[in-house]
Symmetry: C2
Subunit: 212 residues, 2 copies
């Protein structure tokens, strides 16, 4: 089992006598290489991501690295429940119809491209799940995203903030575009911005399918 | 247990002595109402969707109907692995970064809005998962979507078609925009269209995170 320490810890009872290799944050490449090396040595290796390993996770990196560094190992991606979907389930049903997922982290994608994407999906009335919305050092991005959405959607547009879903610190805030920036949002949060038809129904955030 | 018959059947061993209420395709409202009636009568009811009930599924409809028709019942959404994610896992790792999900079915969303969304996400270089890409009666929509993507992306852009994922009929085709329309695509297919950085790596469709 190879993974970021908190993710491996979260396995709880599922961890038996497997050999465990953990590493800290921001050491993704190193972690991935450790997994590939163990696999090449004949071990059956699980490289753990939170959510879905194929969504802002380790699956793609493992494939890139295997090709670039010559690790000829078999790989299988086991899909998981991505953060947008577990957050949405807690909020109600905001992702019922067309939607987009956009990460506000400009570590791997240039900020200009992220802005272009935000403008496109805001104008096309898509419900949007924002990954990595804010960190201690990265505050401007969520402000800018909110400004872009406000150009295309009323301030009363429902917004959900789900933080640390599935953990003991799980928190849910249902608010709207005009009040989003006053809320606590961090690295473990997913922010879902509704579209023109999303509304609050009995305390839940729902994008109706149009039956009513 | 309330659900479309094939979904309930797919439960297999998980089905014990629960009371089962099934119904055919296109009877979603009826099925939902049956679930709400059973719940109001004091039963603990599971309303089954395939994939994630909150993504083109039954969760939102149940909430809309409960409010509109006065069913005061407790509801919890259990998130699942949505079709885009299970399809992506089979293809490789195409959804690693920002992406959109768009349904080509114009049953509940006007076709003009779907076109607007396709144009927006194609221009913003998002990887896109197309739900309900084609049916026997609905062929034009995938042709039009392909035309729109071709305006913004080269014909060699990788495209994955995953059909009936997780079933015995599971099928995977990896092709490109220029050859998409020659492939078999049906109601059980999800089509994933890569963006400008998506590429084939050792037979897998990957959107690189930019480490290499």
């Amino acid at each position: 089992m190879v993974g970021y320490a908190p993710y491996v810890e979260a396995l709880g009872d599922l961890l038996g006598r497997q050999k465990v290799v953990t590493s800290g944050m921001m050491q993704e490449a190193e972690r991935c290489r450790a997994a590939l090396e163990q696999a090449r040595a004949g071990q059956v290796v699980a490289l753990i991501s939170s959510g879905d390993a194929g969504v802002y996770g380790m699956a793609g990196l493992a494939m890139e690295m295997a090709a670039a560094e010559g690790f000829a190992v078999d790989m299988e991606v086991i899909p998981g429940i991505t953060a947008a979907n577990s957050a949405a389930a807690l909020m109600g049903a905001p992702l019922m119809l067309d939607s987009a997922s956009i990460s506000l982290s400009d570590l791997l994608v240039p900020w200009e491209m992220i802005v272009k994407r935000l403008e496109a999906v805001a104008a096309a009335d898509l419900v949007v799940a924002l990954y990595n919305p804010r960190s201690r050092k990265r505050v401007m991005q969520l402000e800018e995203a909110t400004r872009i959405f406000r150009l295309h959607r009323p301030g009363t547009t429902p917004v959900g903030i789900a933080t640390a879903v599935g953990s003991e610190e799980e928190q849910l805030v249902l608010t709207d575009l005009d009040h989003l920036l006053q809320q606590e949002v961090g690295m473990r949060s997913v922010v879902v911005v509704g579209n023109s038809s999303t509304r609050m129904i009995d305390g839940r955030m729902v994008t109706p399918r149009g039956y009513y």
